[in-house]
Symmetry: D2
Subunit: 138 residues, 4 copies
C-alpha cells in the first residue's frame, strides 16, 4: 500500500448530507473509502475510453455448446489472443448453455477487439465486457 | 447557495496523483469542484434507479416529419404527459429530419414511461433520455 | 424517406416470443419498427465511439446562476464552440438553479470536448451528454 | 436448441447498408446472428431493470489483499450470499492486488445487493457487475 495523503474538500452541507445518506445505505462505514471508490471508478472510465490505456477486467460469455464447431472456434480465438487472457472459469449453466468468465489484461483497444470478435461468433448468445480497473492506477 | 462544510479525506498519494492529472486534463482548476461533481453524478445514478426518485433531465428525439400523422401523434403524446414536460426546443436538422429536445421534471418512473412511449412511436428514429439531476439534491 | 428493403431473419421461436412480449410492453405496434430502432441505437453507439464519427445530440446542464461570473463564462464557452451548437433552450428550475438544453451537431470528438469543458466549469452541477444519432445514418 | 422461425423485416435500404457495414466490421458473417444478438442484449437490459428479473452474470472485483482482515470479510460475505454465487476464479494480479471473477445467478435485486455490499467493503478497489443474460431467455 502506498503512502497516504490527507486533503480538505469544501462541499455544500446539504450535498454532503445527501452523499452520507447514500453511502450509508450502500453499506460504507467510512466516507474516505467511498470517495476513493468514486475516484477509481472515474479513472477506469477514462482508461477504457483511451485505446492505449492499460486495463484489467473480464469478459462474460454465454453460448450454446450444441452449436456445431463452436467450442473449437472459441478455443482457437482464445489462443490467438492469449496475450490478453489471464485465465478462464467455465460453468455449465444448464443442459444447453455454458458460461465462461475470461479474465483479461491489456490495452483497452486489444481487450475490446477480442471481446468484439468473440461476441460476433455464431452461437455466442451474450458477451459482456467489464473493464474493471485502470492497470496504471492499481 | 447552502452553507459550506469542510471535510478531510484520506487517500493514497499515488491515487490522488492520478486523480489530479485526470481533472487537470478535463479543465478543472479546483479539486473540490471535481469532488462535488463526482458526488452529484453518483446521486443522479441513484435517483434514476428508484422509480419514485424525483429527477430533472431531457429527452432528445429525432424523427422524420414526412411520416404520416407522426406530428399529430407526438403532439398528442406530449399533451397527455404535459405534467412531466417543462418545455420543448424544436430543430430542423435537414430536409427530412427534425430533432426535439424536451425538458423534463418528475418521478423517474413517469419520465421513463413517457420516454418509452415516445421511442416506440412509428417514425421516431431515435429517442435518448438523459436524467441529469436528482431533483432532491439540487 | 429512402427506398425500402425486405429481408428475412431466422430466429429461435422462443427468443422471438420474448422479443415480441418486450416490444408489446413498450408500446410498439409493429415489429419492423422495433428492429429499425435497435439497429439505429447500435449505429449511434458505434459513431459515438469513433472520434471522427459525425453525430447529433444534446447536452443538458444544470447550474446555480448565483455563482459569480458563471453566466459570463458559460456564454463565452458556448461562443467559442458555436460551430457545434445548433441552439439552446433555457429553463428556470427554481430560485437558484437553471437548466440548459444545448442542441449539438459535429464530430464525436468535438462534441465530447465541448461537453467536458462545460462540465468542468465551477458552478456547473451537472452536465449530461446524449449522443442521439449518427449524422450519417439519418 | 429450440425451433426456428423465419420472419420478414422491412427496413430502409440506406439503413440496412449502414447496418451491414457495421456488422461486417465486427466480424459477423451472418446477418440473422447479428439480429439475434441485438435482441438478446435488449432483453438483458430489460431483465436487469426489473428487480425480480432472473439473470446470470459476473462480478469482477479488484482488492488489496494486504488490507487487514479483508480476505476474511470477503469470504464471509460470499458465504452469506452463496445462494447467488455459482463459482469464483481468483487471480494474483501483482504483489498487492487480487482479482476475483464471481459467477452469479439469481434475481436482479439479489445480484445487485450482493455486488453493492462487496463494493462497499473497505479495501475493495473496484467491483464491476456485468449482468450478462436474462435467465428466462437462455
Amino acid at each position: 500500500m502506498s503512502e497516504l495523503s490527507r486533503i480538505g474538500v469544501a462541499i455544500a452541507t446539504d450535498l454532503l448530507g445527501e452523499f452520507d445518506a447514500l453511502i450509508d445505505k450502500r453499506g460504507y462505514t467510512n466516507r474516505s473509502e467511498a470517495f476513493r471508490d468514486l475516484i477509481r471508478a472515474e479513472l477506469v472510465r477514462e482508461s477504457s475510453s483511451r485505446p492505449a490505456g492499460r486495463v484489467v477486467g473480464s469478459l462474460t460469455v454465454v453460448y450454446d455448446h450444441h452449436v456445431r464447431q463452436l467450442e473449437e472456434k472459441l478455443t482457437e480465438l482464445q489462443h490467438n489472443h492469449n496475450r490478453v487472457i489471464l485465465s478462464v472459469l467455465h460453468i455449465h449453466l444448464d443442459h444447453d448453455n455454458c458460461m465462461e468468465l475470461i479474465a483479461l489484461r491489456g490495452t483497452s483497444a486489444d481487450v475490446q477487439r477480442f471481446a468484439g470478435l468473440l461476441a460476433a461468433t455464431k452461437g455466442v448468445k451474450h458477451a459482456q465486457l467489464a473493464i474493471t480497473a485502470s492497470a496504471d492506477a492499481l
